[in-house]
């Protein structure tokens, strides 16, 4: 048993021939909170889908708990996924089920626990995210932050050893953001799990991550502890961490000469 629960080895992947990842190497040690950061469209969500085995790499491999993900058959993948919990970007709560039933869903589908025990477990998970009182509500009755917390309770329903978060802070008010931030760290430590956070919110991510990978142009552009990265003099990291609008990542999408385009009436 290696100390890394997830390892990404020389991974390449692309949609329709265009390579999105070009030889990525990452390691996720047990018990840590590791962040993957990068601009929108840099393939962060795709990376999580590769770890979950929803898509197959073009080259290289992802190992979860020592097993190569894309070599597993359907049952093998399902076994691996039972060790993972994933929080989707918009929560992805089942809209036809109540908050209670959403959290109970993985337990009812994947275990033979009696209903009375499921009830206790669901209330316990909801209590952990502070929403035990909301268990009768429907997803449409929740605010964005609450929905995210319910989805988190559902993701940890079966005590996974890997919890993946896709943009957990996106579109939340500052208070909800702080709440989610604390939850990620405290749940990780309470469950003894490993957390993988995909995000572009530097402040919150740096607050809770033990280690951070930056992806840009399909490769790991920089890595290190938040402390190291804050001091980094790499131009890209500096631009990202300090939120400067122009730098190695240009403000302008590549375009023809502005003046000639204005003068030229044709499009």
């Amino acid at each position: 048993m290696t100390s890394n629960i997830v390892e990404i080895d020389n991974l390449s992947f692309g949609y329709k021939g265009r390579l999105l990842h070009k030889g990525i190497n990452m390691a996720f040690p047990r018990g840590k909170v590791v962040a993957i950061m990068g601009g929108s469209g840099s393939g962060k969500t795709t990376l999580l889908r590769l770890i979950g085995g929803q898509i197959k790499p073009t080259q290289g491999e992802v190992r979860v708990d020592g097993k190569v993900v894309h070599e597993q058959d359907r049952d093998g993948i399902f076994l691996l996924r039972r060790k993972m919990g994933m929080l989707f970007q918009h929560g992805a709560l089942f809209t036809d089920l109540s908050v209670f039933d959403n959290v109970a869903f993985p337990m009812r589908e994947l275990t033979d626990l009696p209903e009375s025990m499921i009830r206790d477990l669901v209330l316990m998970k909801l209590n952990a995210v502070g929403l035990r009182g909301a268990h009768t509500l429907m997803p449409t009755e929740l605010s964005g932050g609450m929905a995210r917390r319910v989805a988190l309770a559902r993701a940890i329903a079966l005590d996974p050893c890997i919890i993946m978060y896709d943009e957990p802070f996106a579109g939340l008010d500052p208070i909800s953001m702080g709440v989610i931030c604390d939850l990620i760290r405290s749940l990780n430590d309470a469950l003894g799990a490993t957390s993988i956070i995909v995000s572009h919110d530097v402040k919150e991510t740096f607050l809770i991550a033990d280690y951070v990978y930056f992806v840009a142009d399909g490769v790991v552009a920089a890595e290190g502890t938040p402390h190291d990265l804050m001091q980094s003099t790499l131009p890209f990291v500096h631009q990202f961490v300090h939120g400067e609008k122009d730098g190695p990542v240009p403000f302008h999408y590549p375009a023809a000469n502005y003046q000639s385009e204005l003068l030229n009436q044709q499009l």
Partner: protein, 273 residues
């Protein structure tokens, strides 16, 4: 001379483009047909859960079947009444207005019951299925399910499939029954056809094997087709608002055409055999 050659080469490219466009669309159609068939087989393979946990299917029967009851009953009533009016109009010219019962019953049991039920089902339940599954895909609910090691085909698609296959023949039978009742109300109390003749002629001339069983076979086939088309369109919809709305429209168009086409094929087989 030069102009002529230019027109000729332009014509040639537009013809080529036209033909390749047709080819491209054909390939896309065939591809979708294959993908749909594949989903159908996977649905059958992963159907175990729909029966082991029958409450999943029961819930969908409520949404697709029970919620379609009203539209089916009202339509059947009107269709039956119109059949009786039109039928009487023609039959009385030949002095055989007592045959009105047979005419109404046979039209309903053989054709209108299964066909109109399937068309209404596609519009009422099929669209709902497509929109629901398309939206579940758009909001990543299906992905979330997969990541939880739950198979969306077993958990979402199969129960809806069996609910449709169970509900539609029952709805079609109901359609025929209510239609006959509507026909009776027009023919007997309104027009004054003899009630005894109405029922006894019907009893004597409607055959269980040739008429009723064939009608049931039709409605089972339509049920499989309509439900599967609705499920596939939802499952295959591009995950955007526009994608789901187009998929919903396609469900109605493709289901209706498929039902009418299949009806012709099935009817010709049943006439021959």
């Amino acid at each position: 001379m030069n102009l002529k050659r230019m027109i000729k080469s332009n014509l040639l490219t537009s013809i080529t483009r036209f033909l390749s466009g047709i080819g491209y669309r054909m390939i896309a159609r065939v591809w979708r047909l294959g993908a749909g068939t594949r989903l159908f087989f996977l649905t059958i393979v992963y159907s175990g859960e729909s029966f082991r946990r029958f409450h999943l299917t029961l819930r969908e029967i409520y949404f697709t079947g029970v919620m379609s009851l009203l539209i089916i009953i009202v339509s059947a009533f009107f269709v039956g009444m119109v059949l009786a009016l039109q039928g009487y109009n023609t039959l009385q010219k030949y002095g055989s207005s007592e045959a009105i019962g047979v005419l109404v019953a046979l039209s309903l049991v053989r054709e209108l019951g299964p066909v109109v039920t399937a068309l209404l089902f596609a519009g009422r339940a099929g669209t709902a299925i497509t929109a629901e599954i398309g939206l579940m895909k758009t909001t990543e609910q299906l992905s979330a399910m997969e990541m939880m090691a739950v198979n969306p085909i077993a958990r979402v698609v199969a129960p809806r499939f069996w609910a449709g296959v169970i509900s539609m023949p029952i709805l079609a039978a109901l359609f025929s029954m209510v239609g006959v009742l509507g026909g009776y109300l027009v023919a007997v109390p309104l027009i004054g056809v003899d009630s005894g003749a109405f029922w006894s002629q019907m009893q004597a001339n409607v055959d269980v094997r040739d008429d009723i069983v064939n009608g049931v076979i039709k409605s089972v086939v339509f049920a499989v087709a309509c439900t599967m088309i609705a499920l596939f369109e939802g499952f295959d919809a591009p995950p955007t608002a526009e994608g789901v709305s187009h998929a919903t429209t396609r469900t109605v168009v493709i289901s209706s055409l498929t039902v009418l086409g299949l009806d012709f094929v099935l009817t010709s087989f049943m006439m021959v055999v």
